[in-house]
Symmetry: D2
Subunit: 228 residues, 4 copies
């Protein structure tokens, strides 16, 4: 898997906090842009997150080039609807490279791994045999396993990144999409360190685990602190 | 493929036109609801479509149970983001039934068809062998071809149905998703005949074909009728 | 303010839970539809809410006719983007009725109330004077106070209703939009009692108050229960 | 009205076309990014627009600081739901400046203009009188005319800009929001000239006018060029 941040809104954190502040100020976002220092930016970012005022996080977007994920994971990924995707088409691009993803659980068992590799190799052969027999690419691909690699471009704003990470960095997510969002987090941290640090599983926001079984970070029991 | 309209906003066409009319009237949508007759409903619906005033089509939604589509098609389908999907999980449901889709181009060539069937059968065997060896379902499924059948529930409003059909009923769409939307159109026609009749490829709205090559319904040349 | 539920997806709660269950079942949503009893529906609905699995709540939508809210509130309302709105146009419909909203804080002070009424009355007179002088309706309305009443049709699905209520039933919301969502909650309770009961301020989901000052239901201190 | 492009995705046009091309190529978006020259970018952009392949236009976003629009126009603007808005709050910011918008039709009639100004002045006085009497800002503002100026930050991607301009640059739109989008177009042209040039009323895409009466650019009659 290779994930690169290829483009993004410049000064993403400043954009978010200057905009947030302008909503309750006589000053405009432009004026505030030149007034806020680094400490104020991180303080305001934290305040916004703590109070759940997330709408201004939409003003900063991040574009990733994603290569080497399986069709299993691309199918999961595009279910996040508040983002933009452009995926390499299997209708118009031949699956030339014999690239595919092997889950670690399969890779660990030598016998299964060999069978898995052989099965994918066989699928590839049949795929090309079908192309030669005049079957259109879009139909020949039906035989290809879901393990087959795909590439795509994804643009997601910071608010949706917070949401997607809250789900996909949870240990209940499948390993491959979790790995994807771990790299995304690392890429974000390079250009927006405060924001990147806040990309965390949902339990950190909730203060408890809402899954059936906890991984151990937070207990599953919702604290009962109601005061009246 | 089996597609059933399982639920929908009652009186979808009346809902759309009574709402549309209320926006330019002293009367409320409720009052208009009881005043409009069948002829007025179809006339108003046509007016709205002709003038591109589509926002009120969002007030009527349709829920479909979709069975027996391939993962190729479910992946295409969920790219329509302005709709709601609930797909059978391959993480939590075993792929017990050996059900899969065979593209007609492959089905026609007896030799290839046999190889195709055999390859899918082999994938299934390896899938179950992996499950027995303790591989989690979510990983074992990587070996399954994209041809494998899935089932899902989809809710889409009438505005997005118009849009999705404009793309997916075009002959440039892949045969399987076109078939899916043809059944959807048929299902809609049963409960909302005027609306159903308007679910058409995009060229009917444009008045020309914007694809590289026309299927013949409309020419690709955009009419030049600019008057000044 | 007059708010009526004019239309909705039939059997909204059954639609939500049958769909949810189908995602982790060999059975289809249609089959589950006929199997679930009332107790199972409420139990499953609660499970979904507790675990934050809210996506299937999108399959049920509700359409409201809303009359007698101010333009202050309609402006706030349409900021909830995951819903459909059709508002009475001030460009095409004359503001004939001298209807407007008076905030209780103003209504309580007799002197101010009289001035407030008079100011709105004056605005109305100027509005009609401008219409007679040939000013288009769309321009004459600039003089009308934000207090002026508007009517609209809104369709919102159950997931977004949960979200909107989490914000607008909080005491930090303005009184008028809070009143609007209280009526919406009451209307939902009539046709979907379990769902309606779950339309609550966000603190009930969080287990704490994330505003600067608590109204008293939950303390503002986020419980620190991290176990490792 | 003062509208400034304060931030945007760097190289917006290259981002759009490199992404588009990657979907039907063995190369990645990153590789294509370095290969495309200025002529190819404009050619590809035109191809995408002509064929209606607009999804990759979502990968470039633009953030505007908007000052001095009326609440009439801000209410219209936020109806474009596929964008992000942060508006100056009338709940937390006092309407200190006596700024408001006067429609040209009113400005032209000296007598009406004076009455209009006086009415707004009176509203302002009552507003401050109410604040002094302890009425909360959020309630006092009910008396303020819709003409009152507001400021906001808006982020919109290129696809939605194309759509919004197709509606708001049409002469059927109200003059104030048309003026807003004309400035937006001018701002875009400075940093993305090909894209900016394509921000046009909908008739240019349709090839005809779908309104009741044409402004004269295109006739209202949909050309009938069906060939079979």
């Amino acid at each position: 898997m290779q994930v690169t941040l290829v483009n993004y809104t410049p000064n993403p954190e400043l954009t978010i906090v200057a905009t947030a502040r302008s909503s309750a100020s006589q000053l405009t976002m432009e004026e505030l842009w030149h007034k806020l220092n680094s400490q104020q930016i991180s303080d305001l970012l934290k305040q916004l997150l703590d109070s759940g005022h997330l709408s201004t996080f939409e003003h900063a977007s991040f574009t990733f080039n994603i290569q080497g994920i399986s069709r299993v994971t691309s199918h999961q990924l595009v279910r996040h609807r508040l983002a933009s995707y452009t995926q390499q088409s299997q209708r118009y691009v031949t699956l030339k490279d014999h690239r595919y993803v092997t889950p670690p659980t399969i890779a660990k068992q030598a016998g299964l791994r060999t069978q898995y590799q052989q099965a994918i190799e066989n699928a590839h052969q049949l795929y090309f045999q079908m192309l030669e027999a005049g079957i259109p690419m879009e139909d020949a691909r039906y035989i290809m396993p879901q393990a087959i690699e795909t590439q795509m471009v994804m643009t997601m704003n910071a608010r949706e990144l917070l949401h997607a990470c809250s789900l996909r960095l949870c240990l209940r997510a499948q390993w491959e999409i979790m790995e994807l969002f771990e790299i995304i987090k690392t890429e974000i941290e390079k250009v927006a360190p405060y924001l990147g640090a806040e990309l965390k599983p949902k339990c950190y926001q909730l203060g408890y685990c809402d899954e059936r079984e906890s991984c151990g970070i937070f207990p599953t029991i919702k604290p009962t602190v109601k005061t009246k």
